[in-house]
């Protein structure tokens, strides 16, 4: 049975992994043990396998463009992006951009929700492609291991917002800045354009959300037309702008007010990248 299984994966790999993906697999800087896993359960081969799907989404479905990927430094880096569009498609596209376009290709690590590990299959998939459940301590260890970590400091405040507030940055959490200060990590702002119209929510049904214990309950504008399919992201045009790295110094245990000042600088730099992206596109789909 074991050999049938590995034969299945070998065949799948021959089918899926083309020259570009093999090149990426050869160049990712991640250090793995003799069985091909890192301490967090990432299997670079699995991450590259997942590219077969996400690359199609990136190139064909969302026709994504990445600008300024050379701003991603080698070694540890925090990618700070705006969050919107109800489903975390933005994370998927930023991660795909970083592995397809950055030199060397980077496997982006992000923190997933705490209930994800209780889902069969999903938990295994997420772990193998480098996503981790964890707390600040885990994030610090990832950065000390020179990983690229993606953070949406707006959290659900960003992803749950309605179409009327698209590309308006919500309040930022401060945790990422304390981590950057503690581990001396450069911050690269990533302006994501396209995500915030992909599921155009016109109303956040808070009562419904509370009923299901969800952080928000979007009502997409396309609901009367598409029904449940309205939760499938529309093929909007994605433009990613990676800004120049920002370096911060200071005490990571400083007061919230002091840290908030530095966070405000990141927010401003991120807004520059978002505006640049917005000026680059001709229309939501073009």
């Amino acid at each position: 049975m074991a050999s049938v299984k590995s034969r299945f994966w070998n065949r799948l790999d021959r089918l899926l992994i083309d020259e570009e993906m093999q090149g990426i697999l050869d160049r990712v800087p991640n250090v793995t043990n003799e069985f091909g896993y890192d301490p967090w359960g990432l299997e670079p081969r699995a991450a590259v396998r997942a590219l077969a799907m996400t690359r199609w989404l990136y190139r064909t479905y969302f026709r994504a463009e990445s600008h300024g990927v050379e701003n991603i430094p080698a070694g540890r880096v925090l990618l700070i992006a705006n969050h919107g569009g109800q489903l975390p498609v933005d994370g998927l596209i930023v991660a795909t951009g970083a592995i397809l376009e950055a030199q060397p290709p980077r496997i982006v690590r992000a923190m997933v929700e705490r209930w994800v590990p209780s889902l069969p299959f999903v938990s295994t998939l997420f772990t193998r492609v480098g996503q981790i459940v964890g707390n600040r301590e885990d994030c610090r260890k990832l950065l000390e291991n020179d990983e690229a970590v993606l953070v949406f400091p707006e959290g659900v405040r960003g992803s749950g917002k309605t179409i009327w507030h698209r590309y308006e940055l919500q309040r930022f959490g401060l945790g990422f800045m304390r981590l950057a200060l503690e581990t001396n990590t450069p911050i690269v702002p990533v302006g994501v354009v396209g995500s915030e119209e992909s599921i155009p929510s016109v109303y956040d049904a808070k009562v419904l959300a509370r009923l299901f214990g969800a952080p928000y309950a979007p009502v997409p504008a396309t609901l009367p037309l598409l029904g449940p399919l309205s939760m499938v992201p529309l093929p909007t045009k994605f433009i990613l702008n990676f800004g120049p790295p920002l370096h911060f110094h200071g005490d990571h245990n400083a007061s919230d007010a002091e840290v908030a000042d530095k966070v405000e600088q990141v927010k401003t730099a991120l807004d520059v990248q978002i505006q640049r992206g917005l000026s680059m596109r001709k229309g939501i789909f073009g």
């Binding site: 074991a2 590995s6 896993y37 590990p117 209780s118 295994t124 981790i132 459940v133 885990d138």
Partner: protein
């Protein structure tokens, strides 16, 4: 100047290997071993065996007369098929008495072996569990409360008795030719073995030689005291471990696992303790960097070697 090491539970797998290695690698240590079981092997030089029960006054008299420079406490029942009362008696009360003797006879160093499993396998576990994480095994599985109680006991004793350097080690699954008990060993005795459908937690293994290496690091460290996770050379998914061992997998949807386990005896498998089911779903991966940093511990066996050291299935079950 020669020093004396007292090993409790010396007849067990880890005890025997520790004895052999300490005698082979040092010239200044004499070893006294106690166990309620009988020592059936040859008695090497610089080793003295006393057959005493930890719960009797005779054991205290060994400490009183030998005045050891260090104690490694291995008289511990990790076999979960032993009744809960008995495990509590040996693991908690036995340890408590030993620690009382350490204080009374001013033993400078004592090394205790807890388990990394005390953290429990929970969906919201940290990805690399540090030593200061709360122990969540006991909350979910009262039948394993002796493990957690042992750990807490050692920890609070450590802060109360600063004149003795206590080192509490929390090794991950110890495997090797001399380890023929414990949850992982029992789990791997089946073929096919049950797994949770859609789950594939990362596992850590520690070769018995590296477990001994960690104990010897703890003994060597002057002034060394504290709690240390002991991780092996790396982590790998359960599925890969089973593949390497040539075990077939029988994936069962996780809500049915405990029911399936109840009928496992029909297929000749040994029953898993109920908490083992969570370990088939969620990872309990510890951060082993502190002992490397502070005590200079370095595993010597690779992951491949460690897996290869896992004994084959016992012939009675084959």
């Amino acid at each position: 100047m020669s020093r004396t090491l007292l090993i409790t539970g010396v007849c067990g797998g880890v005890g025997r290997v520790l004895l052999r290695q300490v005698l082979a690698a040092t010239t200044d240590w004499n070893v006294v071993g106690i166990d309620k079981r009988n020592w059936v092997l040859d008695t090497p030089a610089r080793f003295e065996f006393r057959r005493v029960d930890m719960r009797r006054g005779a054991a205290e008299d060994v400490v009183r007369t030998v005045r050891p420079d260090a104690i490694v406490h291995l008289a511990f029942i990790s076999d979960q098929s032993v009744s809960r009362d008995r495990r509590h008696l040996v693991n908690v009360q036995g340890t408590q008495r030993l620690l009382e003797w350490c204080a009374r006879y001013e033993v400078p160093k004592v090394v205790l072996l807890s388990r990394a499993t005390v953290y429990g396998a929970r969906p919201d576990n940290a990805s690399l569990i540090p030593e200061d994480m709360p122990l969540r095994l006991g909350a979910a599985y009262s039948e394993l409360s002796d493990l957690v109680e042992f750990d807490h006991l050692a920890r609070s004793w450590m802060w109360e008795h600063r004149e003795t350097d206590l080192v509490l080690l929390r090794p991950v699954n110890i495997v090797g030719p001399n380890v023929r008990e414990g949850m992982l060993y029992r789990y791997l005795s089946g073929d096919p073995v049950m797994t949770a459908l859609g789950f594939d937690p990362m596992m850590q293994l520690l070769h018995e030689d590296d477990a001994i290496g960690a104990i010897r690091c703890a003994l060597r460290a002057d002034e060394g005291r504290g709690i240390y996770n002991v991780a092996g050379p790396g982590a790998l998914p359960l599925s890969v471990l089973l593949r390497e061992l040539g075990r077939r997998r029988l994936p069962v949807p996780h809500p049915l696992l405990s029911v399936a386990d109840r009928f496992a005896f029909l297929l000749g498998w040994s029953k898993l303790p109920s908490h083992a089911i969570d370990f088939l779903r969620f990872p309990c991966v510890v951060d082993g960097s502190r002992i490397r940093r502070e005590l200079g511990f370095q595993p010597t066996r690779s992951l491949g070697e460690t897996i290869a050291a896992i004994p084959g299935r016992p012939s009675i079950l084959a």
